[in-house]
Symmetry: C2
Subunit: 507 residues, 2 copies
């Protein structure tokens, strides 16, 4: 019964025990990885919070005063994976981030072994340079010239979007850094009704206020209507407010819609506003020669959010904020802490990039992406994106052919999002109206609950605007094949049929 | 010459190739881990940015269009580690975060294999519950009652401190979330001259403005002077401003000083101000029965930052913001995005904690800490802290005995920070004054540059207030022994002697 602190490194002669322990751990982890890709294995083994809290089959979450032994720790590791969710499973459709890229995983293992911090070159020489190389490449793909472009990797797309608002505010009102918002006029931001909630969240955090985010109307397809944007800007100006920032979305969260970037860029130019493009989800399409046309105009953005942990399949987290104007990140955020960013170091301290960020310590999120890029090449990412969009088109075609499903919008998907309702038999001939909506609204949550209990697939749902609860299927996992898409539809139809029959009988 | 995308999972029959690839990777990683603990190995193999940029011995950072083969990827992994810094080495004294806890590392490997997101219970059931258990335990250790306490793990101590300011502002002025700072009076924050720069950074980001952070004077030992705090508060009020928040530091970055928490809490109570305790660095001492007395009064804080990735040795990143008032995090940050936080789910959605945060997706930072806690028990963390502080005392004693070193402050270290100058022979008999200071200021950077080139140890330096550049040694790595402390002193003395002789000769 070995105790970790006495037997593992740094204990003297701890090398062998450490290696043996890791060998057993690696067996557990790799067997989980292999299982994640097998269609015969479940996506999840669902338990309610109180069940897990009480301890299942001896799996106790409580923290002890005394050390446990190595065997118990390995059992805990096995249990942790057992009761979790296999986000890499080909039938996990629940999130924009899915899949388990094994090279990305290898990158994460190395990153955690290196266990260092992105703030200075002296402790992260290689990773700092990899970040520079990756950011430059992404800027080039966005279409910025060699003289333009700066950026930083940060903890998620919401943070990247927050950076964009922070930078825009500083660009127009640099005094905000020292004097705060009370020195400024009432600022107004614009974003579409279908955009991500992080724009409002950023306004709340930054002290601008969520009410100062004007929500611009979208068309049926979820795209911002440029004329609506323009009239909103004029209205805000007429009210004595100061518009300064527009967020356009390239790949909305639910519909996967692309805002018309060029038309929006024209409006931003004529009013002198900062154009941010939230391509957290859609950015991956830039890697595909077939699909990058959907982001035409992105090169006119002043800043871009792009999450390789979504469509490019990098492990969580991996999100970049790209900024066109060089030096702005540093001017906006630097505080010149002398204990960290000494100016009398013996190397080129422009590589101490930590002072450009709103963090101090920063996790290394770049290595996994760098290694994946080496493993796939730019072209490999392109094929991966194409495949995901083919799956979406396959699902769209199938749905079009079935009487028991209804599409939320009739046009072909632009991204890999496909939105649809399952229509139970009793609703198929019911005329549209509040009663049908009321009943349809309950269908998706019921099917999802049952699906999670059975554990063979996972998909998300939500209401949106005047649309009651519908399923949103998204594809970002290259392991998913058309057979998995077919399986999902059959699963929904069969669960839906059962549940609805039961409800009818109960009535 | 295997190509990753054709041969690894999810490729059909990719299981064996995947396992073989990981086996080779694990050999590389474990050999690095073992080397990190060996005193005969170098801490780093320094190269300037332009040297790494140009490619060393075939190590190219450039991103290809076409895939590389698996052998090349393994070579890249080896090179990445080779040119990095061994932050787990017993002679790496450069950062508050050091060491390589192998159980923590195992936790990170599992975390990245699980590759999921902390926003909802449905995709992170086990990790969400582990976060709850850890936060509850930490709140209990801080000294809050069972009815109090909330919190969240977030990407680093600067973010945790930003949360504290955000929450304090919302607590007093909830309208700020929707209306922004323009609806508010001029708010003032207080923090000590020795506190971390993140308080000013937070004020800048949140739109309060860095000039509205009042820097309170410290005594010689780097502790905030309560009378100075009180008079600053009164002055601010007299000027028509609204004080609302005080940051007290438990373990300052450079001196490792503890602010007098009870005295500060008294002042906050009498003026009705939010008391935050930044225990990012000092929080670990709460685990030690010997040293937790230094944080007396922390239970009176309204919020606490505590970074287990510092003194408790958890891998990067692992930082918690603890909040006394339950529900505040949610009220302040929630945006109720319906695609993620549906209220008609079939489980208890109070476990969908993502809406409490300022992020959307959030990295799993809890598992490594949970596993380490199982491996060490609370008592194991206590012993680890005690050992680090014994090393600091050993260094302090040694410095006291030597004529070639001078302590920055004469009293025994409270935390594991020890601050000192190396005094070259030519300065030993020079009277204090500007000329001596000018020359002394150049000593530490020169020694550090030479030390990094030789690569056998790493230590930080900085100026502070009227003190010219001095070394700050910190201990958070349980692998460090007193022999390493002795080695460091000899190394500094020998490099310092050589350098100074050379300078004298040049003159």
């Amino acid at each position: 019964m070995l105790k970790p602190d006495y037997d593992l490194l740094p204990a003297l002669s701890g090398e062998d025990t450490t290696k043996d322990f890791f060998q057993e751990l690696v067996n557990i982890l790799l067997s989980y990885v292999c299982k994640s890709f097998r269609r015969s294995s479940k996506v999840l083994d669902f338990h309610h919070p109180h069940q897990l809290r009480e301890g299942l089959e001896g799996f106790s979450l409580e923290l002890p005063d005394q050390p446990e032994n190595l065997e118990q720790l390995l059992v805990d590791c096995r249990d942790t994976l057992k009761y979790g969710v296999k986000t890499g499973h080909p039938r996990f459709f629940n999130q924009l981030s899915s899949g388990l890229d094994v090279i990305g995983l290898a990158g994460e293992w190395l990153t955690s072994t290196a266990n260092t911090n992105m703030f200075t070159y002296e402790v992260s020489p290689v990773f700092i340079l990899m970040e520079e190389v990756l950011l430059r490449k992404m800027q080039e793909i966005v279409g910025w010239s060699e003289e333009e472009g700066d950026g930083v990797f940060c903890p998620g797309g919401t943070m990247s979007n927050l950076y964009s608002v922070l930078l825009a505010r500083y660009h127009f009102f640099p005094e905000v850094k020292t004097k705060g918002m009370t020195a400024l006029p009432r600022l107004i931001l614009f974003t579409s009704a279908h955009s991500h909630y992080s724009v409002k969240k950023s306004a709340a955090v930054l002290g601008i206020g969520s009410e100062n985010v004007v929500v611009v109307k979208c068309n049926d397809r979820g795209k911002m209507i440029p004329a609506e944007l323009e009239s909103s800007i004029i209205t805000a100006k007429d009210q004595g407010c100061v518009p300064f920032y527009v967020n356009a979305t390239a790949g909305t969260t639910v519909y996967g819609a692309f805002d018309p970037l060029n038309a929006i860029a024209d409006i931003c130019e004529s009013h002198g506003l900062w154009l941010h493009v939230d391509a957290a989800w859609g950015g991956g399409l830039l890697m595909s020669n077939l699909h990058r046309v959907k982001l035409q105009g992105i090169e006119r953005a002043w800043s871009v959010t792009w999450n390789p942990h979504k469509m490019m399949g990098a492990p969580l987290q991996c999100s970049a904020i790209l900024v066109k104007k060089r030096g702005l990140l540093k001017d906006c955020n630097q505080m010149c802490a002398e204990y960290l960013f000494q100016t009398d170091k013996h190397y080129d301290t422009s590589y101490d990039t930590g002072d450009k960020t709103i963090q101090c310590g920063r996790h290394v999120d770049v290595f996994k992406l760098w290694l994946m890029w080496k493993a796939k090449g730019s072209e490999g990412f392109g094929s991966q994106v194409n495949k995901c969009l083919e799956n979406a088109e396959h699902l769209f075609d199938k749905l079009n052919q079935r009487p028991d499903f209804e599409l939320v919008f009739k046009s072909k998907p632009e991204h890999s999002n496909v939105c649809f309702w399952y229509i139970p038999p009793s609703l198929r001939n019911m005329p549209p109206g509040p009663e049908r909506n009321r009943r349809l609204h309950e269908v998706a949550p019921k099917i999802k609950a049952k699906m999670m209990e059975q554990g063979m697939a996972m998909i998300g749902y939500q209401p949106l605007g005047d649309k009651v609860n519908f399923f949103r299927c998204v594809f970002s996992n290259p392991a998913t094949q058309t057979e998995d898409v077919d399986y999902l539809l059959e699963e929904i139809a069969s669960l839906g049929h059962d549940i609805c029959i039961r409800i009818e009988t109960d009535l």
